[in-house]
């Protein structure tokens, strides 16, 4: 295994292959759910990066909104529908704002960090909802996406978007995974455990947090851009309002911080639970979501990924007596 292709790297790649293969066998509605899961999972991945150092943002719809609106505004005002260009712009704009806000936010910890993010996301929501040129409360509809010189029509468009999103998300997840395994990435845990000691070692905790925040914004913007192209429409209520931020935190809790793949599994599960609850029990779907969240906090505080860790531990324990017996034989 090379430095890049460790077990998580292989798992992500296999995930990508699986997605591309299943694309030909799944109904339309399920593909939409998968696409949204990729988008929202990306934002939750941004939260994971922050969470590793003990920070959580209650306003990550801020970057989701930046990404989505950048794509929509480019389509509306510049008439450019190329996916590579618009997504790149969305990522850069969201990342740029995260970088700028980072100078301020890196001084905050705990609940203040979370709530300041919420305040900024609500300011964005207010601006988007009030300004006519940004679509106001009605939002902006997107034209069909194109890919360099390829402009698919009809059902091919959906497949193209799905492939595009899957491959891009794979690249993003691989990049974040690589980052988390770098020295700067490992500092996350140190920041969470004891900042003062980290600073005594000669590192700047604030700088580490700033980098993380910027990465988190970039990834969030990417998720927003994919979501905008998936839904084909952006409006403040579904892109920047605070319950959307709540959804991301929900997904992050559900998945746990164990692995960069976890947020995508969590996002898929979240979308499935919500779709099912909304279809089957429209009167009490919030109750079901709240109940699920509560059960996870109470019984799986490290998210679904802790089940994988548990399984690994069990397997290791089962392996040990066998190894001991073998040694005796020898």
């Amino acid at each position: 295994m090379t430095k890049y292709m460790d077990r998580t790297g292989w798992a992500l790649t296999i995930g990508l292959v699986v997605l591309i293969v299943v694309n030909f066998f799944i109904p339309e509605w399920f593909r939409a759910i998968l696409l949204l899961s990729l988008a929202r999972g990306s934002v939750a991945l941004g939260l994971l990066v922050l969470w590793r150092c003990g920070l959580i943002s209650f306003g990550h719809a801020l970057f989701y909104g930046f990404g989505a609106y950048t794509v929509a505004l480019i389509v509306k005002y510049l008439g450019i529908t190329d996916a590579f260009f618009t997504v790149a712009c969305g990522v850069v704009v969201a990342g740029g704002f995260a970088w700028a806000l980072g100078f301020l936010l890196r001084r905050y910890r705990g609940i203040f960090f979370a709530l300041l993010n919420l305040a900024f996301s609500m300011i964005l929501y207010g601006v988007l909802a009030k300004l006519e040129s940004l679509g106001s409360t009605d939002g902006i509809s997107l034209e069909r996406t194109t890919y360099l010189w390829y402009a698919p029509e009809g059902p091919a468009n959906k497949t193209a978007l799905f492939f595009f999103a899957a491959i891009m998300t794979w690249a993003v997840a691989m990049a974040v995974h690589h980052y988390l395994r770098s020295t700067l990435g490992y500092m996350t845990t140190a920041v969470r455990e004891n900042e003062i000691r980290l600073e005594f070692l000669g590192y700047s905790a604030e700088r580490a947090i700033h980098v993380k925040y910027t990465i988190s914004g970039l990834v969030g913007g990417f998720g927003g851009a994919i979501a905008a192209m998936t839904i084909g429409h952006v409006d403040p209520d579904s892109m920047a309002y605070w319950p959307i931020s709540g959804d991301f935190v929900f997904i992050a809790i559900l998945s746990g911080t164990g692995n960069v793949g976890a947020p995508f599994i969590g996002a898929l599960l979240y979308e499935l639970i919500r779709t099912y609850a909304f279809e089957q029990f429209p009167g009490i779907w919030q109750l079901i979501m709240g109940g699920t969240l509560l059960l996870i906090i109470m019984f799986l505080p490290n998210g679904l990924w802790s089940l994988v860790d548990l399984w690994k531990k069990r397997r290791a324990e089962r392996g040990r007596p066998a190894a001991a017996a073998e040694r005796e034989k020898a």
Partner: protein, 300 residues
């Protein structure tokens, strides 16, 4: 700007500020003692409003004196405060005190989602309107604009609540115990203060204040789904601006936000939607702990 407009902004701002204070003071009390941001506060407000409106509608049909409505509000709030206080604190929060503060916020958020649907299951989606107390108190003209006396009376009520809380905290034994717990939970426990009981009582008082806010507001608004969400986000902002756990902070925070919002409504309506968050962001940038947050020792 002419003086009349200024007066209107001031009165409007005061009314809105008293509403904000009523909904955020309970939150800040709980926040100060238990160090948690309690999202279910919004549910308490909504339950207070719904239950009170339902009873008031029935009461209006009996033809008994209108002043009884105010007794009903108080009783509703006390009832809800005790019932929900015990259920939420004993049934949920006490298992979570050891957890990270984010986790507790999320747990109360989950409980809030559940309670939102319980609310819908009990009362449905139709709005409830119980405006008799509003009509009972009549109107006053300020600068040629009619203001409901009922809304103005809310200013008095919040002043009363603030005074009672101040007295309770500074001049009674329980208040002093509370301050000891706020200062250092473990030390207070080792001095023989029953922290578990203090927590439960604080939570009941906080929940009572939330429900009272809803119950008193009920005649002035159309009670419908979504009022809890609106309140909790506003109350969060006020508490953060004032400094978590500070009652004077909640008072000043409400005043600042209330007047700023009234000014925005009358002068620049575009700003109304996010003026409160702008203030929150500015305050946090200048004073990261909020305006009146109690000083905290740094622990290494």
């Amino acid at each position: 700007m002419d003086t009349e407009l200024l007066l209107i902004i001031l009165v409007d701002g005061l009314v809105y500020a008293s509403y904000l204070f009523m909904v955020s003071v309970g939150l800040t009390v709980i926040c100060g003692v238990q160090k948690i941001l309690n999202v279910t506060h919004g549910s308490l407000y909504a339950f207070g409003a719904y239950l009170c409106a339902t009873i008031l509608i029935v009461y209006a049909e009996t033809g008994w004196p209108g002043a009884g409505a105010f007794v009903i509000m108080a009783l509703t709030a006390i009832f809800l405060g005790i019932v929900f206080g015990i259920i939420i604190e004993r049934g949920l929060l006490r298992f979570l005190y050891a957890e990270d503060e984010h986790i507790i916020v999320l747990a109360t958020f989950a409980a809030f989602l559940i309670l939102e649907d319980v609310l819908l299951l009990i009362w449905g989606t139709n709005p409830y309107i119980a405006a008799e107390p509003l009509a009972l108190l009549g109107q006053t003209d300020i600068a040629d604009l009619p203001f409901d006396n009922y809304n103005l009376s809310m200013i008095l009520l919040s002043a009363l609540v603030a005074a009672v809380l101040w007295y309770g905290l500074r001049r009674t034994t329980f208040g002093k115990m509370l301050l000891a717990v706020i200062f250092d939970r473990e030390l207070a426990q080792s001095m023989g203060i029953n922290v578990t009981r203090v927590f439960l009582l604080t939570f009941i008082v906080g929940s009572f204040l939330g429900a009272l806010g809803g119950a008193y507001q009920a005649p002035a608004i159309s009670v419908q789904p979504g009022i809890g969400v609106e309140v909790i986000v506003l109350a969060f902002a006020v508490v953060v601006i004032g400094g978590m756990g500070s009652i004077p902070g909640a008072l000043i925070g409400s005043l600042v936000v209330g007047v700023a919002r009234a000014a925005a409504v009358h002068l620049e309506p575009v700003l109304e939607l996010f003026v409160i968050y702008m203030i929150m962001a500015i305050v946090l940038i200048v004073r990261p702990q909020g305006l009146f947050a109690p000083a905290k020792p740094r622990k290494i």
